[in-house]
């Protein structure tokens, strides 16, 4: 029994919240990715946070998974972004300031950007400086791409991470556009660009940018779905190449776990 209590305590240290709302649709595999990495994930509807039924402070890692939150009507991620900004107020900025981790994948990235949580210049988590808009193709695209880790050390998710990750993009609005040249220059200067598309740029993103972090390096957003390559059996190259059993995308979640573990 004592062992169990200890286990429950350890589990609590590694609690991760998968935040969903109407139209979120990658919560299942995102929770699986977290579990594989060592976290104990809980999938939560944003209404539960708004009503105060759950408190973000009980978690170490907040993940916004992919999907079409509220149908992406108005603009992708916009409605959920407004809920975070206006209904949860200081909850998420405080969560970041307390040293926790935030990850947004695809629609989650769009949400973080539109809420102003990324790039979070000067610790301002309310101002939108960049956007993600319609792909150059004008429509949704599903294809596997090579994600290149270009970060020099700021981002805790990518420090010591492998150089490339093979995973799919599944989005219609993934074209990364900074608000100005200055914003783009600052992202590069401050080492906030984390991932780029290697090879062909699938959506017209400026400077091939696929993912950025905030100034603390603890908030990461990326368009490609690293959580879709948890097992190499999902990787289409695996019928041609011998790959390890674990998929390349799992590594990002493992880095998050390493960070949380060390911090404890």
């Amino acid at each position: 029994m004592e062992g169990d209590a200890e286990l429950v305590k350890i589990m609590a240290e590694f609690k991760a919240m998968v935040l969903k709302t109407a139209g979120t649709n990658c919560d299942f595999e995102t929770a699986e990715a977290l579990r594989l990495a060592g976290f104990s994930p809980e999938t939560m509807h944003v209404n539960e946070l708004i009503r105060g039924g759950k408190n973000l402070r009980d978690y170490r890692f907040l993940v916004l998974p992919g999907g079409f939150s509220h149908g992406d009507y108005i603009a992708s991620g916009k409605i959920l972004a407004n809920k975070l900004k206006y209904r949860l107020g200081e909850d998420v900025p405080r969560f970041i300031e307390e040293g926790n981790l935030v990850l947004g994948i695809c629609n989650g990235f769009q949400t973080l950007v539109k809420a102003g949580l990324l790039p979070g210049f000067d610790g301002n988590y309310k101002r939108q400086d960049v956007t993600l808009t319609f792909n150059d193709s004008g429509h949704f695209q599903d294809e596997w791409i090579e994600l290149k880790n270009v970060n020099k050390g700021r981002c805790v998710f990518s420090k010591g991470l492998r150089k490339t990750i093979h995973c799919p993009i599944n989005h219609g609005e993934g074209k990364f556009i900074p608000g100005s040249r200055k914003v783009l220059a600052r992202l590069h200067e401050q080492d906030q660009v984390v991932f780029k598309y290697a090879g062909r740029n699938p959506n017209g993103s400026l400077d091939d940018i696929a993912g950025i972090c905030d100034e603390t390096g603890r908030v990461l957003g990326l368009m490609p779905h690293c959580e879709k390559n948890l097992f190499s059996v999902n990787d289409p190259r695996s019928t041609r190449l011998d790959l390890p059993v674990e998929g390349e995308g799992t590594a990002i979640f493992r880095k998050a776990f390493e960070f949380v573990k060390k911090r404890k």
Partner: protein
């Protein structure tokens, strides 16, 4: 709409009046209605007539399949078929059910259910949404998908949808506008609208679209076909449901409006220029996704005792079916509406989307309503199930209609129809062997039915839920045509589900029996090609036909259904669910155009280990290439003959015993070395030969792998094939092309012993596809890149 009086009227007049009111009931049915109300001594209310029309519609009752058919075959033998469905499709399942032992629920629920792994069952349903897609391609496709997803959600106590499939049949995309019939949308516009409809619904709701097909034929111009399928997983022990008297009737999801009124009865009618688009529903994927999530939670908490989706016929069908054995009482004023001012019957039969009906024990209602409300989903008690065996509908304190459940569900007279089949007088075309087979191969690859569907496939999310193992596009550049999709719905084991389809209406022009046999074989050999054994494979049938009153058309149906029986029994692959759609014809300027009789076969296979997967792209230079299965001179209905402007007579046939043996050997070979390095595997690539035959299959394997090959047709296992073009382009069934690991030849040959197989060549480095002919001379030498370009150029819009 004025109320229709039925007493003291001639049934023939009622049929006409009924058609004007979009009831689409026939004489016999009106006679039965008259008799019922004469006994009650009153006229039916409009709501009652509408309820009967919905419940007795072709869409809900499958009257053609369940009726009595007097069939005369090609030799003049007469046969009375009392219920074609029970005597063919269902009989096949009953005959193999005992032997297979993994059927859980067939033909009675919204989807068929089979055993999957230690914790879950798998289920599948394929629907058609043809008429709506002709009028409003985007909306029709949207709601077609939404509907079939709800079928799976309403299967057992609620299955989680894990994959979608879609198969479309359109008119020719290059049709000149001046040749477009009045009142019809251009095939390209329909194609794009349907593509976007499926994309926006499927992607938003978060179910991967993993498999499909797109066919083009001039006869689909006025009546496109849209098939949507959904695969689901259902926890064991959740396969049965029963609404109990006293349970509350709870409507969940979207509100009810005037969209989609008469969708069910409209399926019993032929299209013409006058049809209004108000019969098409309006879809909202997010609304459905919202309740999908909560519904599965409510299921796990066991908060309801039964459920079904509100599809065709809306509340009238959903409540009518759930309460068929007990009775139900509904108060329409409690149903949430999109706007005020709707009449009772409109609320009752509206097919507004994203709605389901649950039977909830009174003690659970409060908890259930709160659960849904927590995620912003409306759940409203609109009535309760009773024990009076009556369907009673109240509105504003008044009785708007009351019908005996027994009459409603069993009171319709059976349809009696005549059918006959005679072979059409097609002849084999006579032409000499063309010199340039390379350019013919390119033309075949560019034919719209064979050409790459990448532009469409890439717009569909086939990765969401993270279980995609084999994708619709495979190969070195991830653009080769995969044979079947494989999913792994749970990450704690290697078990998976493989999905494929088979369809070839051109064969049906010659003989619908062999069309059906070929479609089943195609679906099955596609599964085998990806490494799935046939030990646990279930089939689904989807018949899209013209007017069943046409004796010849109905004869084609009988013949196709007979083949379904024979072939499914012989393969031991039972049918678990199906659907039929008749009246796919269009009248303009006094001329009626019918679609070709079209049968889609979908196959769902259970794989013990998804790592057994095999993709179709060539892997390694120097590996030997085998053909398993014999090639006959079977070009009737082939794409090659079509290029020559002919249909022909020699439709591909099938000897199941031979095919089964081949498939068993191939599945065993594919399983060797699983979980080890690729060099330990025996089978490195596999592809089936279908449209365009061996030639097209070789080209696809080569350019998908970025490699070439050299083959020698003299080594091809064949019978009666003496021409190079026939050898390359015959579409004989039951054939696979296999790249075998060169160090594992013996193992492969041992497993295939006793079948018709031969090594016909080898994989070569990047570059060319070279074919040596039956006389030993080079008959084809083409650059792989040029072939790929031809294949990718047709449908890149």
């Amino acid at each position: 709409m004025p109320e229709l009086r039925v007493l003291d009227r001639k049934p023939a007049d009622l049929v006409r009046l009924g058609k004007e009111a979009q009831l689409h009931l026939n004489e016999g049915e009106f006679a039965a209605i008259q008799k019922y109300f004469e006994r009650l001594g009153r006229e039916p209310t409009q709501l009652e007539l509408e309820t009967i029309a919905q419940t007795w519609s072709e869409h809900c009752k499958h009257k053609v399949f369940n009726g009595v058919i007097e069939y005369v075959d090609e030799r003049g033998h007469k046969e009375i078929i009392d219920n074609l469905f029970k005597r063919t499709i269902r009989k096949a399942t009953e005959r193999v059910a005992g032997e297979v032992g993994w059927l859980v629920s067939v033909f009675k629920d919204n989807a068929g259910i089979i055993a999957f792994n230690s914790s879950h069952h798998a289920c599948m349903k394929v629907e058609t949404h043809n008429h709506p897609s002709a009028l409003d391609p985007y909306g029709g496709a949207n709601t077609g998908l939404g509907g079939v997803i709800r079928d799976v959600l309403g299967c057992g106590l609620g299955a989680k949808p894990v994959a979608n499939t879609d198969v479309f049949c359109f008119g020719l995309p290059d049709l000149a506008y001046k040749d477009l019939p009045s009142g019809v949308l251009h095939p390209k516009r329909i194609a794009k609208g349907v593509r976007e409809g499926v994309r926006d619904y499927g992607n938003r709701i978060g179910i991967p679209t993993v498999n499909g097909a797109i066919l083009f034929d001039a006869r689909y111009t006025c009546n496109p076909l849209v098939y949507c399928g959904t695969v689901g997983v259902l926890p064991k022990g959740m396969e049965s449901k029963q609404a109990r008297p006293g349970d509350k009737i709870v409507a969940i999801g979207g509100r009810t409006g005037r969209d989609g009124i008469h969708g069910a009865t409209f399926s019993s009618a032929e299209l013409d220029e006058s049809v209004s688009t108000s019969v098409v529903q309006i879809g909202n994927a997010i609304e459905e996704k919202k309740f999908l999530d909560v519904l599965l939670k409510a299921r796990d908490l066991r908060l309801y005792s039964s459920l079904t989706d509100c599809g065709a016929g809306g509340f009238s069908s959903a409540v009518g079916e759930m309460g068929a054995d007990c009775g139900a009482r509904v108060d329409l004023e409690k149903a949430p509406l999109k706007y005020a001012g709707m009449q009772s019957w409109e609320i009752w039969v509206s097919e507004s989307q994203e709605r389901m009906v649950l039977a909830v024990p009174p003690g659970n209602v409060e908890r259930l309503v709160k659960l849904f409300a927590d995620e912003d989903v409306e759940a409203s008690v609109i009535g309760e199930f009773t024990d009076d065996r009556l369907l009673s509908v109240h509105h504003g304190g008044q009785l708007a209609g009351q019908l005996d459940m027994a009459f409603l569900h069993r009171g319709n007279p059976r349809l009696e129809q005549k059918a006959s089949w005679k072979p059409k007088p097609f002849e084999e075309p006579v032409f000499s062997e063309p010199k340039n087979l390379g350019s013919l191969l390119k033309r075949l690859l560019a034919a719209p039915n064979i050409a790459s569907k990448e532009t469409t496939i890439r717009q569909y999310d086939h990765e969401v839920q993270g279980g995609s193992v084999l994708k619709p596009l495979v190969g070195a550049d991830l653009d080769g045509p995969g044979d079947a999709a494989i999913m792994r719905p749970f990450f704690d084991g290697w078990a998976g589900l493989a999905v494929s389809n088979g369809i070839n209406p051109l064969y049906g022009d010659i003989d619908p029996y062999w069309m059906a046999a070929s479609a089943i074989d195609e679906a099955l050999r596609n599964l085998v090609a990806v490494g799935c054994s046939l030990e646990r494979v279930a089939l689904l049938d989807n018949f899209c036909w013209g007017n069943p009153k046409d004796e010849a058309k109905l004869g084609e149906l009988v013949r196709a259904a007979k083949a379904c029986h024979d072939v499914a029994v012989a393969f031991k692959t039972p049918f678990i669910s199906g659907k039929d759609s008749f009246h796919n014809e269009y009248t303009v300027g006094g001329k009626t155009v019918s679609i070709p009789s079209t049968l889609l076969i979908s196959a769902l296979g259970v794989m013990g280990d998804v790592r057994q997967r095999v993709s179709m792209d060539f892997k390694q230079k120097g590996n030997p290439l085998y053909v398993v299965g014999k090639t006959f001179q079977e070009l009737g209905g082939s794409h090659y003959y079509r290029l020559q402007g002919a249909v022909g007579r020699s439709v591909p046939r099938l000897v199941v015993a031979r095919a089964r043996k081949q498939y068993a050997g191939l599945a065993k070979a594919a399983a060797i070395g699983v979980g080890k390095k690729n060099r330990d595997r025996v089978v490195r690539a596999m592809h089936d030969c279908s449209e365009g035959g061996l030639g097209v299959a070789l080209a696809e394997m080569a350019f998908a792998g970025g490699l070439g090959c050299e083959i020698d047709l003299r080594k091809l296992p064949r019978e009666g094939v003496e021409r190079n073009d026939y050898a390359l382009f015959s579409e004989s069934n039951a054939r696979h092309l296999v790249e075998v690991n060169k160090s594992k030849r013996t193992a492969f040959e041992r497993l295939l012993r006793g079948t018709d197989f031969a090594c016909i060549g080898r994989v070569t480095g990047p570059g060319r596809l070279v074919v040596k002919g039956l006389q030993g001379e080079t008959v084809l030498d083409e650059d792989g890149k040029a072939l790929k370009k031809a294949w990718k150029g047709t449908l890149n819009w």
